[in-house]
């Protein structure tokens, strides 16, 4: 049976080669709806190989992996999707569901209320969203400033002054947030554990003592790397060394 499926897949793959990205996308979504997740994954990954980057693509690929019980890959793709579209409710929801399926319940360091607000605010828009916000706010700010400068009526002048201040703040913050999202997008210090079980060692060698155990799907932060090893730390502060192939950078 497995062999037959494999042959069919190969045939499909060959047939698909000539298609446009739009057709592959459609075909992949169809496959997902027919619960042919392995095939859908193959098609989505084919799109990725065509250098196509989109939050939706990562999201759908994550869904397909999730349905195929590949929790680590699912979380990795959800995280990648969320980086490109941080405000998307569906991505956030599915990531949360997938994270709840992981074995490790890493205690998150408690965030203070203003840290949370700050994060929630800049996660409202993607990098491009914030860039556009910044430009629009800048133009408005300049226009209102002009009104403030040339108006002779005191009432208009006052209102224009406050509006221009507000718009200036909005401009500055939009650009800060855009930079923040840009950094997040190009951040290579976060990784997802791919192996079902990884023992973190105290030093980059297989003989060194075991420190702790992490499981598939757990998000780790890479502090440094040495040869085949990553030095990771978890959200709760634990630090250890793991093999490079056991984790994948988001």
């Amino acid at each position: 049976m497995k062999k037959v499926v494999f042959i069919i897949l190969v045939v499909f793959t060959l047939g698909v080669k000539a298609q446009t990205p739009r057709e592959i996308w459609f075909e992949a979504n169809q496959a997902y709806q027919r619960s042919e997740y392995t095939y859908a994954i193959e098609l989505f990954e084919q799109l990725q190989q065509m250098d196509i980057v989109a939050a939706e693509l990562y999201y759908n690929l994550g869904n397909a992996y999730f349905r195929n019980n590949h929790l680590g890959k699912a979380i990795l793709n959800y995280e990648r999707a969320l980086r490109r579209n941080p405000a998307d409710d569906n991505i956030r929801h599915n990531l949360r569901i997938a994270n709840n399926r992981t074995i490790d319940n890493v205690e998150q360091r408690a965030q203070l209320f203003y840290e949370r607000w700050w994060r929630n605010t800049y996660m409202l828009q993607s990098v491009n969203g914030w860039a556009i916000w910044g430009i629009v706010a800048l133009c408005l700010f300049l226009a209102i400033t002009a009104i403030y400068l040339f108006s002779r009526t005191i009432g208009i002048k006052k209102t224009a002054f406050y509006f221009s201040l507000l718009l200036l703040t909005l401009t500055i913050f939009s650009l800060i947030f855009a930079q923040k999202q840009y950094n997040r997008l190009n951040n290579t210090s976060e990784a997802i554990i791919m192996s079902p079980r990884v023992t973190a060692k105290s030093s980059p060698s297989a003989q060194s003592p075991d420190l702790f155990l992490v499981h598939e799907g757990t998000k780790v932060f890479i502090r440094s790397s040495l040869g085949d090893w990553y030095e990771i730390n978890l959200a709760n502060g634990n630090v250890g060394w793991i093999k490079r192939e056991t984790a994948e950078i988001i």
């Binding site: 929801h93 569901i97 860039a131 079980r197």
Partner: protein, 615 residues
């Protein structure tokens, strides 16, 4: 079973606490005994003591004890369970001599409190009539002939080794040598084997009797006891003698002995006397050598013996998550199997391993103890993946080769698959209560067409982005500069004009005066008009094209020029117009108008100036 006992043992002290208040501790013994009589002295306590301090038995010989016995009774009345435990320490003692003797109080410690028993007084009377056919010789009164001599009857303890290693198996054999007939014997006192771990390996059934020649005398020899000993510490260890109570058939004394009888050691028809006597073996001193410290492996746990083997079997190497695997480790060899500890194996995490089930198969033979001990582990993997069970390393010391020998089981690899996706569901998972109950499935994929932007293209920080940032700023700056210039330019000409308005008006009036003198009427009025309107236009910054009486009145109002002033200005204008087109004498009128215009301009100028100063 063992577990249940253990639980019971843990529960016991708790239960005992309930009765801690009314601990009773009594000693009981017969009040009247005869010399040589054996009797029981019992100390009974209805709690579980932590310590028992026996009394001194002066005037008695302790044959055995203290022997501890426990009896537990449980009562269930109307569903309520009450439990009581009684512990009895029993001594078997023998009265040695006549007299009144008191056994002082014994002490027990229960929950930190010390309780004393009652002292017991025992009256030891004269020897009672021995049981038929038996004679108990009283000390001192015994006649030499009434006892078999040490040459006729003795016990010899022999040891297989005199300087064993610590933990090495040593066999002690007790043989009874006799030249007289021994009717029966019973072991009276077994040595405590202090410093040894001992196990009785006496062969069951009747002892074999053989003959042996010692110093030219023929003895019948029977092995009465064989013990395997394992010295637990190094140094000089002494084994106390074994005491045996034997009933010996002494040849009859009243009858003359015949040569025949002598030869056979007593004829079956000899009615001779039966004498009961205690014989002791020799004591043995051993010099126990410590195990060599050098080259001692880290895994060595103290096992000493020979021919040890370890064997491990795993029932499955491929399995599903949450299935159980069975690992059996068997250690076999010659040595103290009961002292073998549970193997120390570093099981991988996420493999739930239960405490092993220990089963022994121990054989005792005249050559010592051998056998095997098995540990059966049940392991349940909780996640998918590869689980490596490291080898179990067993090290023992072989005294015959005087080296440490290491045996090892193979490494096992269990491949665990998670086909059913159960990894997230085992019971030992941390509780994740933050999951909302209905929120347990992912949402559907996005099916709308997406923009197929090649990777690496981003609006932020692109040229367009920078352009859109820089352009409005530049535009704004240009606009600002331009506007500023315009304002400056405009404000400058206006200022000039305002400042020069009066001068210009006076100039025009001067010209008008000239025309007045030359009596050229039209030119005069033209000049007056020009002076008045021009002044207004310059002063009030109103273009000449939109200048009329209404705009002037409005402008005056805006400049807050008093009503009468603006009115007189307008009147002057009206008069001018009127005079110009009115017929009649003109010279007086012209002169009047000239003065009126001059006055109006001067007063307005004054008024505006005063206002400017005020501001």
């Amino acid at each position: 079973m063992q577990k249940r006992l253990l639980i019971l043992a843990f529960l016991m002290p708790m239960v005992m606490n309930l009765w801690a208040e009314d601990v009773s501790f009594t000693a009981s013994a017969p009040t009247n005994v005869a010399v040589g009589e054996r009797f029981r002295v019992a100390f009974q306590v209805n709690a579980r003591p932590t310590h028992f301090n026996p009394p001194a038995f002066t005037g008695f010989r302790v044959l055995s004890g203290p022997n501890q016995s426990t009896s537990t009774s449980m009562q269930m009345i109307n569903g309520r369970t009450t439990q009581s435990t009684t512990i009895t320490y029993t001594y078997i003692v023998e009265a040695v001599s006549e007299g009144n003797y008191t056994i002082p109080a014994a002490q027990v410690t229960v929950d930190g409190n010390t309780f004393s028993s009652n002292p017991v007084t025992i009256n030891v009377g004269g020897a009672t009539t021995p049981p038929p056919g038996q004679t108990t010789p009283a000390p001192g009164t015994q006649q030499p002939q009434e006892r078999a001599s040490a040459q006729d009857l003795f016990i010899r303890a022999t040891t297989s080794k005199t300087n064993p290693y610590q933990g090495e198996q040593v066999i002690i054999t007790y043989n009874i040598y006799t030249r007289v007939s021994v009717q029966q014997y019973s072991t009276e006192k077994i040595p405590s084997y202090q410093g040894f771990w001992s196990e009785n390996i006496t062969a069951s059934g009747q002892p074999q009797i053989r003959t042996e020649l010692i110093n030219g005398e023929t003895y019948r020899v029977a092995e009465i006891r064989r013990v395997a000993l394992f010295p637990q510490r190094s140094g000089e260890l002494t084994i106390e003698p074994l005491e045996v109570d034997a009933v010996v058939n002494l040849p009859g004394q009243r009858r003359s002995r015949s040569l025949f009888d002598d030869f056979f050691g007593g004829s079956p028809f000899d009615t001779g006397r039966q004498v009961r006597q205690t014989i002791r073996s020799n004591s043995i001193t051993m010099n126990v050598r410590p195990l060599p410290a050098q080259s001692r492996p880290a895994a060595f746990k103290g096992t000493v013996g020979s021919n040890f083997e370890v064997q491990a079997t795993l029932n499955a190497t491929e399995m599903n998550v949450n299935d159980a695997a069975n690992l059996r480790i068997t250690i076999s060899g010659n040595g103290n199997m009961r002292m073998i500890d549970m193997p120390v194996i570093n099981f991988p995490a996420n493999l739930e391993v239960f405490d092993p089930n220990v089963s022994d198969n121990i054989r005792t033979s005249p050559s010592g103890i051998s056998g095997s001990r098995s540990f059966e582990y049940i392991m349940i993997p909780r996640t998918a993946g590869e689980f490596i069970i490291p080898p179990f390393i067993f090290t023992y010391f072989d005294p015959s080769q005087q080296t440490y020998i290491t045996r090892q089981t193979p490494e096992f690899i269990i491949q665990v698959t998670d086909e059913a996706g159960l990894a997230g569901e085992p019971s030992d998972m941390p509780n994740r209560e933050d999951v909302r109950l209905l929120d347990t499935d992912i949402r559907f994929i996005k099916t709308s067409p997406i923009s197929f932007v090649p990777a690496g293209q981003m609006f932020y920080k692109s040229t367009l982005f920078w352009l859109l940032i820089v352009m409005p700023i530049l535009l704004f700056a240009f606009f600002l500069i331009y506007w500023r210039n315009q304002i400056r330019l405009r404000s400058n000409t206006q200022l000039m004009r305002t400042r020069k308005a009066e001068k210009l008006a006076r100039k025009r009036l001067k010209l008008a005066r000239k025309y007045l003198q030359s009596k050229s009427e039209n030119e005069f009025y033209d000049e007056i008009f020009r002076a008045l309107w021009g002044y207004l236009s310059d002063k009030l910054a109103i273009p000449v094209s939109i200048l009329n009486k209404e705009t002037v009145a409005g402008a005056f109002k805006a400049k807050k020029v008093p009503e009468e002033l603006s009115q007189s200005f307008l009147n002057t204008l009206n008069d001018c117009e009127f005079a110009r087109f009115a017929p009649g004498t003109k010279e007086d009128k012209m002169d009047e108008i000239y003065h009126k215009a001059l006055n109006t301009i001067v007063t307005i100028e004054k008024d505006l100036k005063s206002k400017k100063d005020k501001i």
